[in-house]
């Protein structure tokens, strides 16, 4: 019991730290507001801008803008940042065999996982809304979205757990394989190239609910007059789907697809937790982490970060512009 008591004592100190920081933060804000609020005349306005906008701008400058420039700079230098090497790190990334494998894997992830999640999400969105108790189905399929990728990885690591076939299986996938008549299923996480696809399945499991919810909302937003008119013209069933529904929600489909792509590109949690990038499953985001913070190859790590940045740039740019346009219409 003393173990537990010690843990609770430690917890109190830590919560104290957190609450202290919050209290300090709020206190300083209120104090500054009080003082700055008393200013009057010509100084009042600039002071308000400075106080309200200043902290956020400083943090953005220090936390994003300066690092952005610095990472590009570091990517052109050697791994200990002492020597200018030009494009050498990028050359390394595109010509070294092991890194090429990483890029190929990343490309596979980038194409397959988003397409699978979006496709399945679209089918579910079309089917689920007519069903009784649709809220329950939607909630359950959407639920993985609330779970961390680390949690999801452990859940699936357990599903993929494989034991020697002399023992009883405790992993669901192995047992299912046996029930279906596959006597000696492989060790899933070691079986290349199957393992990469099994890791993608985790991403699809997490993202399908997101795709379903967004697409379902888009389908509901199609005005009744449109479908009504199409029906009067004789469109039915799949024709209606192809010529009315799909064109009406095309933008949303693309936004969902690019959003899942962005998540897929940047996620390193699944690969890191499930295989550590071994057995031919490595992806760009995890390789970037390993180069930077495990092997401390600052130059190569930065180069990989820049490649990642250039890969997500068009996707994010498209998405946020779309988001802005949508808001402008509303």
């Amino acid at each position: 019991m003393s173990l537990a008591a010690g843990a609770w004592g430690d917890a109190m100190v830590k919560f104290g730290n957190g609450l202290g920081a919050i209290a300090g933060f709020v206190g300083i804000l209120l104090l500054v507001f009080l003082v700055a609020g008393r200013a009057s005349g010509r100084i009042a306005r600039p002071l308000a801008v400075l106080v309200l906008l200043g902290p956020a701008l400083v943090l953005l400058l220090v936390g994003l803008v300066a690092p952005l420039v610095r990472t590009v700079y570091l990517s052109l230098y050697s791994d200990d940042s002492s020597r200018f090497v030009g494009g050498e790190n990028f050359g390394w990334a595109f010509t070294t065999g092991s890194v090429r494998e990483v890029l190929v894997n990343t490309l596979l992830w980038l194409v397959i996982a988003p397409l699978a999640a979006t496709g399945l999400g679209l089918v579910l969105a079309l089917l689920v809304d007519r069903m009784r108790g649709q809220a329950v189905y939607k909630s359950l399929i959407f639920m993985p979205m609330a779970i961390s990728l680390v949690g999801a990885s452990i859940i699936f690591k357990f599903v993929y757990e494989s034991r020697d076939h002399s023992q009883r299986q405790i992993g669901l996938l192995s047992q299912l394989a046996i029930w279906l008549g596959w006597d000696d299923p492989p060790n899933w996480m070691l079986a290349q190239p199957l393992n990469t696809f099994l890791l993608m399945a985790v991403m699809v499991w997490v993202q399908t609910g997101f795709a379903m919810v967004v697409l379902s909302a888009a389908i509901k937003a199609i005005p009744d007059e449109v479908t009504e008119a199409a029906r009067l013209d004789g469109a039915q069933g799949l024709r209606l789907f192809r010529h009315i529904t799909v064109p009406m929600i095309r933008t949303t489909v693309v936004v969902v697809l690019t959003t899942v792509m962005i998540t897929t590109l940047k996620a390193f949690d699944i690969v890191r937790t499930m295989t550590g990038g071994n057995f031919g499953t490595q992806v760009l985001a995890n390789e970037m982490y390993s180069q930077s913070f495990v092997q401390f190859n600052t130059g190569r790590g930065s180069a990989l970060a820049v490649i990642l940045f250039l890969a997500v740039l068009p996707l994010v740019a498209y998405n946020i512009l779309q988001l802005r346009k949508e808001r402008a219409v509303r």
Binding site: A4, F15, L53, L59, F142, A146, V150, F158, V159, M274
Partner: protein
């Protein structure tokens, strides 16, 4: 108001019983892995190693022992339990939600209502910063926290001795959250009624007074949506925590510890599943209790990173 919008005809095309079977099958498939985790975490060790968790559905012998072990004792060469890490997760997530929320609301108000030359350009620049992925900022920021900032021999910022505290993680999460938070809150704050704002100015209220007594109360829904999104984002984050908190019980959150354990706990599935369930139970509770806000925040924030 009650316009029927269900695209009925489209759906009728699929109204075969087959459709229902498909949806139910996917739902089961989507739920079973999590159920397996929960059931395993409740089974005694010898059962977990003896056979699959589905056997426990027929012969349930369940208890909370694993949770006590994993929280307070650890096990199999792991000296501390998960309790300190669970505490760290909370102590990281709550401030890392409130700080960006407050700073972003202030900035958004200034950009929307305290107009000045270049405020539109500035807003667009902040908005555009959303394209920067986390990975681009990690190395320089870590160097900054540990070594300070120098220009030649000139020290711009001294090395901050923040090791072993939550401060680097709070700071990093706050910085990374700002572009999205400012963008979302600006959209909301900019749409507040102009009359109301002008009336307050005529009454002689300062910008700070307007911000506190008009803007914040009227923005509660937007603030709540973003707060939930950010809380879950921070709670579930691995990358920022791993980089800025390291792996020690002093500061590392649950995600970092679980990622370590998934390697070192090897066959101790009864402990790993209990630990994993502990880490997902809070987001799941938030999800089921506040689903509407959650979805709204999630949809708005889906491009973050």
């Amino acid at each position: 108001m009650s316009v029927r919008r269900d695209g009925g005809a489209v759906r009728k095309a699929f109204s075969a019983p087959l459709a229902s079977v498909f949806v139910i099958a996917v739902t089961v498939l989507w739920t079973v892995p999590t159920l397996g985790l929960l059931v395993t975490s409740l089974r005694p060790k010898r059962d977990v190693t003896a056979d699959g968790w589905w056997n426990a559905l027929l012969h349930p012998d369940l208890g909370l022992d694993n949770y006590h072990t994993v929280l307070f004792e650890g096990g199999s060469g792991v000296s501390t339990g998960l309790m300190p890490f669970l505490v760290n997760s909370l102590a990281i997530s709550v401030p890392a939600t409130l700080f960006p929320l407050a700073l972003a609301a202030m900035a958004a108000y200034a950009l929307a209502w305290v107009r000045f030359r270049g405020s539109d350009t500035l807003f667009f620049l902040v908005f555009a910063l959303q394209v920067v992925p986390l990975q681009m900022a990690l190395i320089p920021l870590l160097q900054l926290f540990s070594g300070g900032a120098h220009l030649g021999s000139l020290t711009l910022l001294p090395a901050l001795d923040l090791k072993g505290t939550y401060a680097p993680v709070w700071l990093a999460h706050t910085m990374f959250a700002l572009p999205l938070a400012i963008f979302l809150l600006h959209n909301f704050i900019a749409q507040l009624p102009r009359d109301l704002m002008e009336a307050a100015v005529v009454d002689g209220a300062s910008h700070f007074k307007i911000f506190r007594s008009i803007v914040l109360p009227l923005c509660t829904p937007a603030l709540a949506s973003f707060a939930i999104f950010q809380f879950l984002w921070v709670w579930n984050d691995l990358l920022v925590a791993l980089t800025f908190a390291g792996g020690t019980p002093e500061v590392a959150p649950m995600t970092v510890r679980l990622a370590q354990l998934s390697g070192s706990f090897g066959g101790r599935w009864e402990l790993l599943t209990a630990g994993a369930f502990l880490s997902i139970v809070i987001p799941l509770a938030v999800f089921f209790a506040l689903q509407r806000y959650f979805v709204r925040g999630l949809l708005a924030g889906s491009v973050k990173g």
